[in-house]
Symmetry: C2
Subunit: 288 residues, 2 copies
């Protein structure tokens, strides 16, 4: 995990150097958000899944970098005053606090475009067919039918009192779509047969939900200093979460059950899937 | 031109139907911005250039739709209160006025992703190699090194007193990068030889600059009702434009000269380039 974190940081630093004009403000804002602090769960997932099919690590790392661009893009825009209005992310000021709102909008936009630039580059994978499929799936996962659609549902959720079904649905889009892509990316690059893809999809769904429940538990019971961001915001805004709907104890049991289910989906891979098993355990037991 | 406008409108309507949940607010916001009103200059350029190489119109139209997604995305975000703070676009309320700021941020994001989804789809072109090149070039043109970088320069330009060189540079990124892509896209799909690409690049550069000068002239002398947006804002904010730097008379002569140069770059194509000639003439003589 530390190796992936270091490699992703280095790639962001290397591939986004300051230009020699005033655009450097934009590049600095992009690096401010992208370098350091993140768990890099998504790149790690791509790597772990690609590893099942002996995909070269350089391909997995670039695909992981691409999805991380999309993820960081969504964090920058999510933190904006008109969205969640957050001042702190990974223990640092958010982009619109460190720079300004307009720069934050542009930095998010530029990272979204950058993700597709990375992914479509021949350096990611020798097959254009595969790169193109990766792009198409990632664009679908990031757009109105996936992550952006989930964010829309999340914004509208503040008003009413959603039930467990609608929260699960919202999270399946908001965080689940990108997580699903990570496993799909490994399978695409590894030309995985259909029956193995079904297992990976099941794993991704359980992981995504378990991850979100763990997030809600941390939000409810965690330490702001350790988390590096403001906590208990959903609660203050009267937004339903898995914890508010289930209670902490049942939410934790639910997450544990999802971890078991996720691992069961990996059955066909045997010992090779150790990293994917460790990731889902980490995702639920982490403390930030 | 009217056929392209109608086809692009129809494609947006068809490919972005309301989902049967609360995400429909996002889809409506996207269609609000994307359907109707635009000149569709970029799709028309793709079509005209693709026509030089007998690329099927369906491919050109989908590539044109993709670049229009990126363009509309940039308009939605440009209009935000933290950017240009505009209330009117194409004679309609801007997205953040018709909906809200958060929805406008998400609608812009989702259209950016949608552009890449469209482009990478096999329906756009049978060759994955070509689709992938289109994606990579468009992502580069939209990102920090292109359009988003130009917008950053534009935001910072309000302060100082830029000269003609830095304004040309800013516009070459802010509007020129996408316009350049349109011609490049036709050339890529048409497998154009290198010497013809050089001419097309020259044409795109002259067109981009002429288009921007015409925009500045309209902004300075045009009619707000006809333009469907607020005019003379740069002037009010003390931002330099081609007109403020050159005066209206010299700016107009400069635009005319660029039209001639653009047309000269089409020399090698002879009579086949009539549509591209008409486009550059329209771009400068339009009244909105």
């Amino acid at each position: 995990m530390r190796r992936t974190q270091a490699d992703i940081d280095l790639l962001f630093e290397t591939l986004l150097p300051d230009p020699d004009d005033a655009r450097r403000r934009l590049y600095r804002a992009m690096r401010h958000a992208a370098v350091g602090g993140g768990k890099r769960l998504r790149p790690l997932l791509v790597e772990a899944c690609a590893g099942l099919f002996d995909v070269p690590r350089s391909s997995a790392l670039r695909a992981g970098l691409a999805v991380e661009c999309i993820h960081v893009h969504s964090l920058i825009h999510d933190d904006l005053p008109c969205m969640d209005d957050d001042d702190l992310r990974h223990g640092k000021p958010t982009v619109h606090r460190a720079y300004d709102e307009a720069t934050a909008v542009l930095a998010g936009d530029a990272l979204l475009a950058f993700g597709f630039e990375i992914l479509s580059d021949p350096a990611t994978h020798p097959s254009a067919e595969i790169r193109c499929e990766l792009v198409r799936e990632l664009a679908a996962a990031a757009g109105a039918g996936g992550m952006a659609g989930g964010q829309m549902l999340d914004l509208l959720a503040s008003g009413g009192m959603p039930d467990l079904d609608s929260i699960s649905r919202l999270q399946r889009l908001k965080t689940g779509a990108l997580i699903g892509w990570c496993l799909e990316a490994g399978a695409i690059m590894g030309a995985a047969p259909a029956e193995l893809r079904t297992g990976l999809r099941g794993y991704a769904q359980c992981l995504g939900l378990a991850f979100q429940i763990a997030d809600d538990l941390l939000d409810n019971q965690g330490d702001e200093a350790k988390a590096g961001k403001r906590l208990r915001k959903d609660e203050d805004q009267g937004k339903a979460t898995f914890v508010s709907l289930l209670g902490a104890e049942r939410a934790r049991r639910q997450a544990d059950m999802l971890v078991e289910q996720a691992i069961a989906h990996l059955h066909a891979f045997g010992e090779r899937s150790r990293l994917l098993r460790e990731i889902v355990e980490f995702a639920v037991r982490r403390d930030r």
